[in-house]
């Protein structure tokens, strides 16, 4: 079975519909699923839940995802892997995301299979 099974996954995205289908898909894979709609909420969950993987949107209402990245990656001993999920598609943003500790970058819109592939690659 997939590495996603039994993984603890946190989604930080302010669009409810995106969280919805991600939840359905991740839970179907057997993952433990947490979600946050703001950077602050996400940061808190990172510390309490210690997820294996964070799926992070960049355009968050309270803070830019790029600025949240270093906080998440250095949050605790078992730092979560981060996959960025954003409409921003420029090379510069991508570079910054990787520089700040992201392990994967998927641009919106995307089909679920592609995201799963990236997540499996990152978690493996």
């Amino acid at each position: 079975m997939s590495v996603i099974e039994n993984a603890k996954i946190l989604v930080i995205d302010d669009t409810p519909s995106i969280r919805t289908f991600l939840r359905i898909s991740m839970m179907d894979y057997g993952a433990t699923f947490h979600e946050a709609s703001t950077a602050g909420e996400g940061h808190k969950l990172c510390e309490t839940e210690e997820p294996d993987l964070v799926i992070l949107d960049l355009g968050l209402p309270d803070k830019d995802g790029l600025d949240l990245l270093p906080d998440i990656v250095g949050a605790n001993g078992s730092a979560p892997k981060v996959v960025v999920l954003s409409v921003r598609n420029d090379r510069r943003t991508r570079e910054i995301a990787y520089e700040r500790g992201a392990s994967g970058y998927v641009t919106k819109p995307f089909i679920m299979e592609d995201l799963i592939e990236t997540i499996e690659h990152v978690l493996r």
Binding site: T15, S17, I24, G59, V87, P109, F110, I111
Partner: protein, 662 residues
């Protein structure tokens, strides 16, 4: 400061020989040089051509890198010597002096040493003095050319007649009164009175009038005061001598007066011109487009010259061959010869037309407008028939043309700068708008594509529950609708802004729109309580009902979006103070104060990049445009008890209601 070569010239027609000699010498030394142009005050009076030539010579020297020093003094020789002495005293190192020597004829040659000789003798040990012999004497301006005859009008004939008549009256009065005080009046005293009249006329009206006055007064004295009285005959030799002396004195006085007057007029003219130049400079400094500059110049230069003035701007498509010009003012008329002169002026970059060597036969004088950056156009002045050009005219035109060129250059540079800055801003804004719009389009798309792809993979795997299927389908559908409304908003914004949408206002019951909106929004509002208040029975408001309904729907939809599930929305209809208003109040968190005046700004969301809920950005901007197009407005405020209130204002004079009530 060091100076190597000094070239002394004056108005002599062959002065160019001195300059040529210096120029031949220059390449060897590669020296810094200066041209000293000493001009006698009246040297070029009445000889515009020569002045023009000298100016060209100086221009040539300047183009070859010379510094020009222009002195205007009576004794040119002494001035040269003084100037060179001053330079040496100031520590300037003059190694070469070039000076022209005129061949004097006759006795003068024996007694008077030439300036060149004096220079050589005095500065020979300081510098190498090169004396260039010049053929022919400087033709001194004749006496007549010194006197500005000016324009001769009836006033100039009438004035001496009146003056002499007045002198006659005074003389008669004196004669009538003086015998009483035991004094015998004679012809000499009378003559003085007439002489005074001549002086006054000469100072006031110039030489010609003075001459008329002299002749008239001579006649009057001869007829009335010289024996035999009542005849023009002269009986005694003494009288003949006396009256001849009177005539001589009157003539001399007339000439002197005329000359003084001419000098004063010259000085006044110079003063007026320099003041006008200063004014023109001041005025054009403030101008910020070419049209404005030309307008100011046309007006001021016309005032200055008192002649028709025109500017000719080459049309940009033709640089070579026959160039066409845009005329300013547009109604300027040129004949064939004028056009030829204009072309020559443009092509050769030199003064052409009236009084110049190029384009002879034209009644216009054309001066090229040119700066270091290139030629900008041609400046033309229409010289009226019988106009007498003074020597300063050519110089004035050249400096005017230079000034115009410099001003146009400045204005064009400024425009270019503004243009590029504007383009830059616009590009930046456009790319920001594009990225914002692409975010708004892509976010709902991401939900749709994501949901459907999850649906597909779950189906494939054959383990989809009915609940999952419902949720995913709902999500995709919701987002598709959101996308649709966003695209509709963008399109209507574009159409409103480009003026494509036409508003057709007519009288409507404002309650109709509310009903339509509530019906349309029923699925969105679900069981949210919407309270509609206000008595508008009989009220008819001028509005575009379809557009107004759209705006109202947008605002009520927003109220639902930004307030908690189930919170009430209040819609109030109100008539007051010449307005009809819809108030829509939600019970949400309200709008931060610093955002209140920005929510209608189309570009406001640009500052937020991709953090905002899609599809919410343009609705209020559209509402603003629509309301403004109906002479109304939309405003926003926070309710003291919480929640935002959006208000639509329509102008309303109440008459409709009155009629309806009757």
């Amino acid at each position: 400061m060091s100076l190597d070569v000094l070239v002394c010239i004056n108005g002599h027609p062959r002065s160019h020989m001195v300059l040529d000699a210096a120029l031949r010498k220059l390449p060897e030394t590669g020296a810094k040089w200066r041209v000293l142009y000493v001009q006698a005050p009246d040297e070029t009076v009445g000889n515009a051509r020569r002045h023009e030539r000298t100016m060209r010579l100086l221009q040539r020297a300047e183009e070859s890198g010379a510094e020009i020093v222009h002195l205007e003094v009576a004794d040119s020789g002494a001035a040269k010597i003084d100037y060179i002495q001053a330079c040496i005293d100031a520590g300037e190192d003059i190694s070469h002096i070039f000076v022209g020597q005129v061949q004097e004829n006759g006795l003068k040659m024996l007694f008077k040493r030439s300036t060149a000789d004096r220079l050589a003798r005095r500065f020979g040990h300081h510098a190498h003095v090169t004396i260039v012999p010049l053929e022919g004497a400087v033709a001194k301006p004749g006496f007549w050319s010194r006197v500005n005859l000016g324009v001769f009008t009836w006033e100039h004939v009438l004035a001496p007649v009146v003056a002499v008549a007045a002198a006659f009256l005074v003389a008669e009065c004196v004669r009538a009164m003086l015998p009483m005080i035991m004094h015998r009046i004679n012809m000499h005293n009378i003559a003085l009175i007439f002489l005074l009249a001549c002086v006054i006329v000469s100072l006031r009206y110039g030489l010609l009038s003075a001459l008329v006055a002299s002749a008239l007064s001579f006649g009057v004295i001869n007829y009335f005061y010289v024996v035999p009285i009542g005849q023009f005959n002269l009986s005694t030799l003494t009288d003949m001598i006396n009256i001849s002396i009177y005539l001589g004195a009157a003539l001399i006085v007339s000439f002197m007066g005329g000359h003084v007057r001419a000098s004063v007029e010259n000085a006044r003219l110079k003063e007026r011109r320099s003041r006008a130049l200063y004014d023109i400079h001041q005025l054009t400094t403030g101008a910020d487009n070419k049209h404005q500059v030309l307008e100011i110049l046309d007006r001021e230069v016309h005032k200055l010259f008192g002649m028709d003035v025109a500017f000719f701007m080459p049309n940009s498509d033709a640089q070579n061959g026959s160039v066409t010009f845009t005329r300013y003012p547009l109604n300027t008329e040129l004949d064939q010869k004028d056009l030829l002169a204009l072309q020559k002026c443009w092509q050769q970059g030199q003064t052409a037309g009236f009084g110049a060597l190029l384009g002879i036969g034209s009644s216009w004088r054309f001066e090229i407008m040119e700066t270091g950056q290139g030629k900008y156009g041609v400046f033309g002045v229409h010289i009226p028939m019988r106009a007498r050009l003074d020597p300063g005219f050519g110089q004035l035109m050249t400096s005017m043309a230079d000034h115009v060129a410099a001003t146009i250059e400045r204005v064009e540079l400024m425009n270019e700068m503004t243009d590029s800055r504007f383009r830059e801003e616009r590009e930046k804004l456009r790319s920001m708008l594009l990225s914002s719009v692409s975010h708004d389009l892509k976010t709902p798309l991401a939900s749709i594509i994501g949901s459907i792809s999850v649906l597909r993979s779950l189906r494939k795997a054959g383990r989809i529950t009915e609940e999952q299927e419902d949720t995913l389908t709902e999500t995709a559908l919701d987002e598709a609708q959101r996308l649709d409304s966003f695209i509709t908003n963008i399109l209507s914004m574009t159409r409103i802004e480009s003026g494509e949408i036409e508003f057709s206002t007519s009288e409507h019951d404002p309650m109709d729109s509310v009903r339509t909106v509530l019906k349309a929004l029923r699925p969105r509002l679900k069981d949210r309580p919407v309270k509609v208040m206000g008595d508008t029975a009989g009220v008819r408001v001028m509005m575009d009902s379809m557009m107004t309904t759209q705006v109202l729907q947008n605002i009520i939809d927003n109220a639902a979006k930004y307030s908690p599930e189930g919170a009430a929305i209040d819609v109030t209809l109100e008539v007051s103070e010449g307005y009809f208003r819809y108030h829509v109040r939600d019970h949400g968190p309200g709008i931060p104060d610093d955002m209140l005046d920005r929510v209608f700004d189309k570009y406001e969301r640009l500052n937020k990049t991709d953090s905002q809920v899609a599809g919410t950005g343009l609705g209020l901007a559209i509402a603003k445009s629509v309301m403004r197009a109906q002479d109304g407005d939309v405003t926003v405020a926070n309710h003291p008890e919480g929640g935002a209130i959006f208000t639509l204002h329509f102008p309303y004079d109440g008459s409709e209601r009155m009629e309806a009530a009757q």
